[in-house]
């Protein structure tokens, strides 16, 4: 991987010059300083997330990708980006979390072990939470139906706390991460087969409130 002082090259694609992303774009209304800082921090850390994930990331998704979730398309070599604000998630919201990082991780049957993919997602969630220090989240723990109702309540609680503990280990304050278990009560997929059960064994991080 080549790294130049003003750009990141990731695999065969590249994100364009970092410095350019902090420039106000001509078609944007003036941002106040704080928002601008936040916006550029978002792009930087989103880029960092992609960097961390580059070993398993889909290459084609990186070329000309909407990396920061703001509709910007980076054209290789031009250093100009244009963004469309309409229809994009507001930064710091649930939708933003889902789109930019991913709101959920999955588990194997009767397990609370965080897979490498889960850890990837949670690393992203932690970074995202750091950008938005006023955001409070609730981690919902769920289980598939293949167990007794009460055992599944306990299992959902274990999964929610496994996620919370991981985020806390990445220095997210515990007071910012609440947990709740729904056991088998709120399936993502109401089906009765392996596919549905896989979908349901999950912990979902939801934005609860902004302080």
């Amino acid at each position: 991987m080549q790294t130049t002082k003003d750009s990141l090259a990731v695999g065969n694609g590249w994100l364009g010059p970092l410095a350019a992303t902090s420039l106000k774009r001509a078609d944007e209304p003036p941002l106040d300083m704080e928002l601008e800082m936040t916006a550029s921090l978002l792009r930087v850390s989103a880029a960092l997330v992609l960097l961390a994930a580059c070993s398993s990331a889909d290459e084609s998704a990186l070329q000309g990708s909407d990396a920061a979730g703001d509709g910007a398309v980076r054209n290789a070599g031009l250093g100009i980006s244009s963004s469309e604000l309409a229809g994009q998630p507001v930064p710091g919201t649930q939708e933003d979390l889902e789109v930019s990082v991913g709101d959920r991780v999955y588990f194997t049957y009767d397990s609370v072990v965080l897979s490498p993919q889960a850890i990837q997602t949670l690393d992203g969630q932690a970074a995202w939470l750091e950008q938005y220090p006023n955001v409070l989240v609730t981690v919902e723990g769920h289980a598939d139906e293949r167990g007794t109702r009460e055992y599944n309540l306990a299992l959902g609680d274990r999964r929610a706390n496994a996620v919370k503990n991981y985020l806390v280990a990445l220095n997210i304050p515990p007071s910012r991460v609440l947990t709740i278990s729904y056991g088998e009560e709120r399936p993502a997929d109401p089906g009765h087969d392996e596919q549905a059960w896989t979908e349901n064994r999950r912990a979902v991080t939801t934005v609860t409130t902004t302080q």
């Binding site: 009767d110 055992y151 309540l153 929610a160 009560e185 109401p190 009765h192």
Partner: protein, 442 residues
Amino acid sequence: MRRRPFLTALLGGAASLSSLALPRSARAQLELDITEGIVEPLPIAISELYGETPLAQQRGREIADLVSADLERSGLFRPIDRRAFIQSPAELRNLPRFADWRQINAQALVTGEVTGGAPGGELAVEFRLWDVFAGIQMRGQRLATATDNWRRVAHKVADVVYERITGEGGYFDSRIVYVSETGADRDRIKRIAVMDQDGANHRFLTDGADLVLTPRFHPDGQRIAYMRYSGLTPQVYLMNIDTGREQRLGSFGGMTFAPQFAPDGRRVAMSLAEGGNSDVYTLDVAGGQARRLTSHSGIDTSPSFSPDGRQITFNSDRAGSPQLYVMTADGSNPRRISFGGGAYGSPAWSPRGDLIAFAVLRGGYFHIGVMRPDGGDERLLTRSTQDEGPSWSPNGRVILFSRTDFGSDRVRLFSIDVSGYNERQVATPLDASDPDWSSLLA
């Protein structure tokens, strides 16, 4: 349904009618042995009870219908069609002509009389149970109560018949509480409902606004404990069925769930989840300090007391997979009792103390099964895509459970005799889960 006191004692003393004068046969009295294997249902004739007035006659008919339905549902009796009866209720005010009853192969006969029965008034029932082949009376009793309470009188008659003939306690004068389910699969609306064990007097206790789970009767039959999702931390609550008054059970910081009362009604066991670890606690129902019983760093849940209140069976994954354990009620000496293979859960100790019912996932199917409290003699009674949540009838003979049929996507209540026979659906207005069977009502 409001509880009304019974005005007359049920058993013994002055309320017991003396046997009508008869030479006793040398033959042994009628008995049905239900302790082993297949039972051929006993043919029994249940006559409409005699009434002087049309109102009393109607009650007499309804009581006979209800008694017949209870006994038939048990799988142990076969009520004979009344159209085959030779003697009328009026004639049966005297000694039965036993030859007429032997002729239709009745082995037992129930006769009686109703007085009163006006709405808002009083009702008195006298009934007698006869051994047809020996030609003698086995039981006679008089019961009196408010007319509104007539169904409970009829259930008590059925209990007396059942008890006298089988030698085991009855279970018909009891209630079932459960979770009534409706709505889209992803967002089920659940309400707690209560009904008589035969489905009558069905009533919703919660309105569906909050998710509610696992309702369990207090031994007094008047209160239930259950889990409710209100706010961010789901908790166990206690509700009085008659008044609807609700209060939290215990004040814990984490999620509490899986409540189950001790047989003396003074303590309740439940699980508390804290920091991803679920443990079993007990606390006084009247309030006071909670006592932690398990301290293993995994899942410990679904506690169920032995009938003497001295031991607790529960579900734990401390061995690496969900299994069943028994410990002393103070938390000491936990030992594993499930070894049949598969994932075990929802243990329920029989009111007779002799068996623990459970659900097990094995070979891709769920089964309801029973085992001795030491884990021996494991027997599977049912099999389906998902059977769980067994609850015992008051006499420890019938197991109620919920069954989710993946094919039809319905979840409903079923019951089965502990012998493995007479599996039947328990009718509910909507889909149903999480059943709990009360003790015999006072």
